[in-house]
Amino acid sequence: MGFSVPYGAAELAGQLLVGLSRSMILFIVCAGLSFVLGVLRVPNIAHGSLYMIGAFATFSLSKFFAGSSAFWIALILAPLLVVFLSLIAERALFCHLYQREHLMLLLFTFALSLILGDLVKIVWGAEYRSVAAPAMLKGSISLLGSSFPRYNLFLIFAGLLVAVALWLFVNKTKFGKISRAAAVDRDMVGMLGINVSWVFAAAFVMGCYLAGLGGALVAPTVSITLGMDHTLIIEAFLIVTIGGLGNMWGALVGSLIFGVTHSLGVLVLPQFAIIFPYAAVVIVLLLRPKGLLKSVW
C-alpha cells in the first residue's frame, strides 16, 4: 500500500487499455440494461444473471464444438440462448407487471435473479470455469514499445462495433424509432395502432441479447463463477444512473468512467483500486444527480 508505485508511460498505456476493454464489456451490458430501462421502465436485476448465463453458455458451447472456430460459434449461439430464456420470461411474467410501481419491479426482477442464479448452479455447478481465447486472439501485439494483449484490443473493437450498430438500429430503423417513441409515451404509440406489447417484448429481448453478448465476450478474460452476476449488476446500475437513465450514450460515458478509474486506480493504490470507480460515481451523482446525459425518465 502506498503512493510510491513507480510507473512509466508503458504501464499507464497498458492499464488504460485494460480499463478500456473492461469499459467496453460494461458498455455492452449496460446499453442493454439502459435500453430496457428506457423503453420498458423495468430496472432489471436479472440482467446480471443473463450475463452470467451468457458466460456459462459460452463455456459449454466452446467445449462442445471444440475446434478452432468453437469460440466464434459460441459467441453467436450463447447470446441466442439468453434471448430464448428472456423471451419466455417476458411473455410469461414481465408482460403482466409493466403497470406496477418501480420498487415492485425491482423486487420482482431480484426474485427472478435468485431463480436464475440457482438454475445456473443446477446446470453448471459451483466450480470455476474458464474459456480459452481463440487462437488468432491469443498473445499480444507490441505497439509503441509496449505490448498489448490481442484479446483486449478485440474487445475494444467489439465495443465500438456494438455502439455503431446500436446507433444505426435506434436511429435508422423503424423499430428503433417506435421503441424510442414508446419510451416517451407508450399510450400514444398504442393509439397509433402499433402492438405495444410486442414492441416491449422485442425491446426486452434485445436488451437481454446484449447482456448475453457481454457475458460471452467476457468469458475468456475472467474465471466464470457463480456470483459474477451480483458484482456486475450493481456496477451496471450505477453506470446507467450516472450516465442518465435510459440513455445509451450515457451508458457509454458511464462505462468509460467506471472502467478507466478502476484500471488507473490499480496503479495508484492496488489494494483499494475497487474504491476509485465507486468514488467517481459518488462525485458524479453529487454534481449531477440526474446523470451526465439526458435521462428519458
Binding site: 420482482f108 426474485a111 437513465l245 489494494q271 465507486y278 459518488v282 451523482l285
Partner: protein, 315 residues
C-alpha cells in the same frame, strides 16, 4: 385502551418466547435468536422504507458497521465489552449520518443509487483491508464475556434488546416525529409547503434506523461470534428489503414476519435442498402477483372492515 388486544397478544407471545428455550431443542433456540436479530434489522429498515418512503437501498452497510465495530473492539482493544455494545450502534449511526447527509439531497431512485455507491465504498474498504478487518476472511472466534457464553443466555440477551428496541421504535413511530415522517412519505411537497424541514426529518429518521441496524449487527456478533464482509454486501440489503415486502411494509410488525419467513425458509428448505434461494424467488414472485400488500398487509385487509365497524360502534 384501543391497543389492548394487540398488546395482550404481544405479551402472550413474549411469555411464550421466554419459556421456549427450556422446551425446544438447541437448534431451534439458535434459529429463533437469528430471527430476532434479523427482525430488528428489518424493522429498522422499515422505519425508512415503509414509514418514511425513502429508497434505503443499502441498509446492510450499517448492520455491518455495527457488527465490525464490536468485533474490532473485542479483538483489537482490551476495553470492557459494554463499550463495544454501545459503540457498535453509535458507529453505525455515525455512518448513517455521513452517508445520509449526502443522500437526502437526492430523491427516490437517485437517493438509492447514491447510497449504494457510498455503501459499496465502505464494503470495498472492509473487503480489501486485510491487516485491519481481515479482508474477505472476516474475523472469527470473537470471545464474548461469561454471561453471554451459552446459547440460552445470548438468546435471552437478544430477546430483551429486541423487545426494548421494538418498544422504542413503536413509540418513535407514534410520536409527532413519526407522524411527520409518514406525512413526508405521502406528500413531500405539501409537507415542505407547510414548513416542515423535509431533509432534516429524513436525516433524523436515517440516524434512528441506522442506530438500530448497528444494534442488530452487535446482536449478530453476540450470536455468531464472527463477522465477514458479506454483512455489508448489497445482496443482503436487498434481502432485508424483501423481508419488509414479504411481511407487509405498511404495517408495524410485518418485517418481523418477513424476517421469520426468510430465515426459516433458508434453514428448513436449506436442509433438504441447497437451492433454497430458488424457492424464495418463486415464493416472492407468487407474492408479487397475488399479495402485493404483503402477508400481514393481506390479513389486515381482511380484518380491517371489522375493526372499523367496531370503532364506529364505540363512537
Amino acid at each position: 385502551m384501543i391497543h389492548s388486544k394487540p398488546l395482550g397478544w404481544a405479551l402472550a407471545f413474549f411469555i411464550i418466547l421466554l419459556i421456549l428455550p427450556s422446551i425446544v431443542p438447541r437448534f431451534f433456540v439458535y434459529i429463533l435468536a437469528l430471527i430476532f436479530v434479523t427482525s430488528l434489522l428489518a424493522m429498522s429498515l422499515n422505519l425508512l422504507v415503509g414509514h418514511g418512503g425513502m429508497f434505503q437501498f443499502h441498509h446492510a452497510v450499517f448492520y455491518g458497521v455495527g457488527a465490525y465495530t464490536l468485533a474490532l473492539m473485542v479483538t483489537k482493544t482490551s476495553l470492557p465489552i459494554w463499550v463495544g455494545f454501545v459503540a457498535g450502534p453509535l458507529m453505525a449511526a455515525m455512518a448513517g449520518l455521513i452517508i445520509g447527509w449526502f443522500c437526502v439531497r437526492l430523491t427516490q431512485l437517485y437517493f438509492g443509487m447514491l447510497q449504494i455507491s457510498l455503501g459499496s465504498l465502505v464494503w470495498a474498504v472492509v473487503f480489501r483491508w486485510y491487516s485491519f478487518t481481515g479482508g474477505d476472511d472476516g474475523i472469527h472466534g470473537i470471545r464474548m464475556p461469561p454471561f453471554l457464553s451459552s446459547l440460552t443466555s445470548s438468546y435471552y440477551f437478544i430477546l430483551i434488546i429486541l423487545v426494548i428496541s421494538l418498544i422504542l421504535l413503536y413509540l418513535i413511530l407514534k410520536s409527532p416525529f413519526g407522524n411527520t415522517l409518514q406525512a413526508i412519505r405521502d406528500n413531500p411537497d405539501r409537507c415542505a409547503a407547510v414548513g416542515i424541514h423535509v431533509r432534516r426529518h429524513q436525516l433524523t429518521a436515517i440516524l434512528i434506523a441506522t442506530f438500530f441496524a448497528g444494534m442488530a449487527g452487535v446482536l449478530f456478533v453476540v450470536l455468531e461470534h464472527s463477522v465477514f464482509p458479506d454483512l455489508l454486501f448489497w445482496v443482503l440489503s436487498l434481502e432485508i428489503f424483501i423481508m419488509c415486502l414479504l411481511g407487509g411494509w405498511f404495517t408495524f410488525g410485518g418485517p418481523i414476519l418477513g424476517a421469520a419467513i426468510t430465515v426459516s425458509l433458508r434453514t428448513f428448505v436449506g436442509k433438504y435442498t441447497e437451492y433454497w434461494t430458488m424457492i424464495l424467488g418463486i415464493i416472492l414472485i407468487l407474492l408479487i402477483f397475488f399479495l402485493p400488500e404483503g402477508v400481514m398487509g393481506y390479513f389486515q385487509g381482511i380484518f380491517k372492515p371489522r375493526a372499523k365497524e367496531g370503532a364506529q360502534r364505540r363512537m
